[in-house]
């Protein structure tokens, strides 16, 4: 009797194991004809464009929604999106857009001037009946200058500004301002965040939280039907997991290949590696309110002392380029390399320190976050900077903060507690304004802005202000170039690097291009079967 019972158990175990093995060998359910599976760095936080503050989620939404104005492929040059043309009034206070006709949202409701008005009123007016579907953190920063949005007729809409604000057109390309379906927002309320409805090349199908987001091609897309039938996004937050999923075929495409794995992916014939400059800046702010960095010679010495090439090549493994100022080269219309440069030169640094009265150096406190959006490898980079500065006698003590606490500290200003602090930003509108006005402008000293190191130069302030008010792009470019020359010479920061964005995919993925804004567009991508 007992023996029989044991046999029964064994048979049962055998059956379970066998079932598992058979199950493991079963091919996955047949995918749609042309499917692309993309590995993301995290689960998107929301699919309501106004709510987003992270690039990762924005990369998904560019497939579901459109903007009034957009950038051409691989550049920051504007082209028509949902607006076919626009005019700007002489005084720079009125922007009038003619809208594309015959476009429909995925729910079948029409795209028109009222939808544009609804989108922006919801973002900007706290009393709007659907303002409670927010909060919309970036709305004020990018569109705060807008006084009112008026629907002149079904296909004409006018933005009236409080004061001239020339970055407006570029800011309209941003994720925050993607046009949402008013009917969709009204239907779903707060749950619109999980039921996105736009006019984009892909329609939302399903979102299994923490597992996958499925989008299907929008056959009636105004800019041509996408080549893919189905687009699937999977969150793969762990770097190594993301790479191994690509290697083992779990995904067709990944973004943000970790620096240590780039070589491996590059050398593997199955994959294509993509890399492109983005509008990113990583720097070390120096406290100009406090000795010794109040002396420009000391600040220049610090710039000479740090070996930026070594950081870019050895720590970041070539996933960045050396920086020479606060404007990234990706923004070609505003960038210049005709500025004071600081090549690695410890002897020159020592000489400058001696001239400034610090022949044997000095101690300094250096704040860094342990991680953070756009911060690359802050600890390793800070240690390299610390080692370089030690060579010229600057004895740096690193103080590490967790990201949330760090932003709080930095935003309050360095006071007398710190001499240096690392930070980075992304100019995804392809425009230095309004970011630089919040970080480098003398009017943005804490608590009025994020100028934690207290840099103040009246000429820089007026150049930044003029560049924000001037409409003509060529003239704006000149103003920003002049500003960069002054800032490079003043050296309020140690300019470190500009990150390159990267991605990798199977060879069968065709026609993929990275965009300098760090957004991703999948409507032109194909898959060879």
């Amino acid at each position: 009797m007992k023996r029989t019972a044991r046999w029964q158990v064994l048979v049962a175990v055998g059956l379970v194991v066998g079932w598992l093995l058979v199950g493991a060998g079963t091919p996955q359910a047949g995918p749609a004809a042309k499917t692309l599976v993309v590995g993301l760095v995290a689960e998107p936080t929301s699919m309501d464009p106004g709510q987003l503050t992270d690039v990762n989620s924005m990369r998904v939404l560019s497939s579901v929604y459109d903007t009034l104005v957009r950038f051409k492929e691989e550049s920051f040059t504007l082209e028509p999106g949902l607006a076919t043309s626009w005019t700007i009034s002489e005084d720079g206070l009125q922007y009038t857009f003619t809208l594309r006709q015959g476009v429909k949202f995925h729910d079948g409701s029409p795209f028109n001037a009222e939808a544009v008005k609804f989108t922006y009123d919801r973002l900007l007016d706290p009393k709007h009946p659907y303002a409670n579907t927010g909060p919309f953190p970036f709305a004020g920063f990018y569109y705060g200058a807008v006084k009112q949005v008026t629907a002149l007729d079904a296909s004409t809409v006018r933005f009236t500004l409080k004061q001239p604000f020339s970055p407006l057109l570029n800011n309209l390309t941003l994720n925050t301002g993607r046009i949402v379906s008013p009917a969709g927002v009204k239907k779903w309320g707060k749950e619109f965040a999980s039921h996105p409805t736009g006019t984009g090349p892909f329609k939302f199908v399903s979102w299994e939280k923490n597992v996958r987001i499925v989008l299907d091609a929008n056959p009636g897309y105004w800019d041509g039907r996408p080549r893919l039938d189905r687009l699937i996004f999977r969150p793969l937050p762990e770097e190594q997991t993301r790479v191994t999923e690509l290697l083992s075929g779990g995904v067709d495409f990944i973004v943000d290949v970790p620096p240590d794995n780039i070589d491996q992916v590059r050398k593997d014939a199955r994959f294509v590696f993509y890399q492109q400059p983005g509008p990113h800046v990583w720097w070390v702010t120096l406290n100009v309110n406090k000795k010794p960095f109040s002396d420009v010679r000391v600040r220049q010495a610090a710039n000479y002392a740090v070996n930026k090439e070594a950081i870019v090549n050895d720590i970041l493994k070539g996933t960045a380029t050396v920086s020479s100022g606060p404007v990234p080269p990706a923004i070609t219309w505003a960038y210049t390399d005709q500025v004071a440069r600081y090549p690695y030169d410890p002897a020159k640094a020592k000489q400058l320190l001696a001239e400034a009265g610090y022949p044997s150096g000095f101690p300094a406190i250096f704040w860094i976050p342990e991680s953070g959006s756009g911060m690359q490898s802050p600890k390793t980079m800070a240690q390299a900077i610390q080692a370089d500065l030690a060579v010229v006698g600057i004895k740096v003590q690193i103080q590490t903060f967790e990201w949330g606490a760090y932003l709080n500290q930095y935003g309050k200003g360095f006071g007398t507690a710190a001499d240096m602090g690392a930070l980075s930003f992304m100019l995804d509108p392809g425009d230095p304004a309004p970011m630089l006005s919040l970080i480098l402008d003398g009017h943005a000293l804490p608590p009025n802005g994020f100028n934690g190191g207290y840099y103040k130069n009246a000429e820089v302030d007026s150049l930044l202000d003029a560049a924000t008010r001037t409409v003509d792009l060529k003239r704006r470019g000149e103003l920003y170039r002049k500003m960069q020359q002054i800032v490079a010479t003043d050296a309020p920061w140690i300019f470190i690097d500009h990150a390159l964005q990267n991605a990798a995919g199977l060879k069968k993925v065709t026609n993929f291009k990275l965009h300098p804004s760090f957004y991703m567009f999948f409507n032109k991508i194909g898959v060879n079967q």
Binding site: L20, F138, V211, Q240, T244, E245, L438
Partner: protein
Amino acid sequence: MWRYLVRRLIAAVVVVVGVSFVVFLVLHLTPGDPAQVLLGPRATPDDLARLRQELGLDRPVLIQYLRWASHVLRGDFGRSIMQHRAVLPELVRRFSATLILTAGGVLLAFPLGTLVGIVAAARQGTPVDRLMTAAAMLGVSMPAFWVGLLLIITFSVHLGWLPGAGMYSPTGSGGLTDLLVHLVLPAITLALVPLSIIARLTRSSMLDVIGEDYIRTARAKGLSDRTVIGRHAFRNILVAMATVFGLQAGFLLAGAVYVETVFSWPGIGFMMVNAILTRDFPLVQGGVLLVATTYVLINLGTDLLYAYVDPRIRYG
């Protein structure tokens, strides 16, 4: 017995409320709030103030806590600030994923660990014992995240036998088979340390018991080895086993964080780490409530188990 249970349950409520309050306080006293994390360096004073008001962060901490607590009592856990969705369904989803993973780990670790321990003890000093002891030592010493990566490299990348990330395949049907296939590697990774600890403890408890007089008596009666070990000795290590099972169940739940991270398993540990880093107060609070309750219940369950496996223990 019942009085004991009621007393323990009241104490459990006090512990859970206490934990949730302390966590709330610590989180709010830590510099940096969700408004700051959301805005990053784009934080103008106006935008910060507006966002704080919209999120209710401009009220005193105690008021915020009481508001949260009163909502929770009505079954409303609020909405995640960072994930823009209702907290409760998210917790349920995440916790189920963690429970599936933990259950996989328990099913591997507890029976296998016990079996290895008993076999090693029964064969004390033989090569079998030495091999198992060495393997258990190795198992305790290897960090889970490293083992996880090794398993992924071997079985997902090189051999291509098993998936190395997620709970379901992105293009698959999402059925039970799909889930079990995805569970194999993470469950093994998670089970390794508890399995080894249980094996070591079982072996040493067993050796203690085997040295007792009543075992010698049992053997002297001429009982078979199987009966002596299986009935007389095993029964007497159960109290020690219950303790270690309780502790290890907690460990499995906590250890799931690493495994979830390595295998992109959408569980609660991974969610909590991110929620704390981004100051997602409602999500952290809900998660803490759930995890604290689970721990308290596991502990209570362990204590009750003592009484069941050892008739000498009675609660009054």
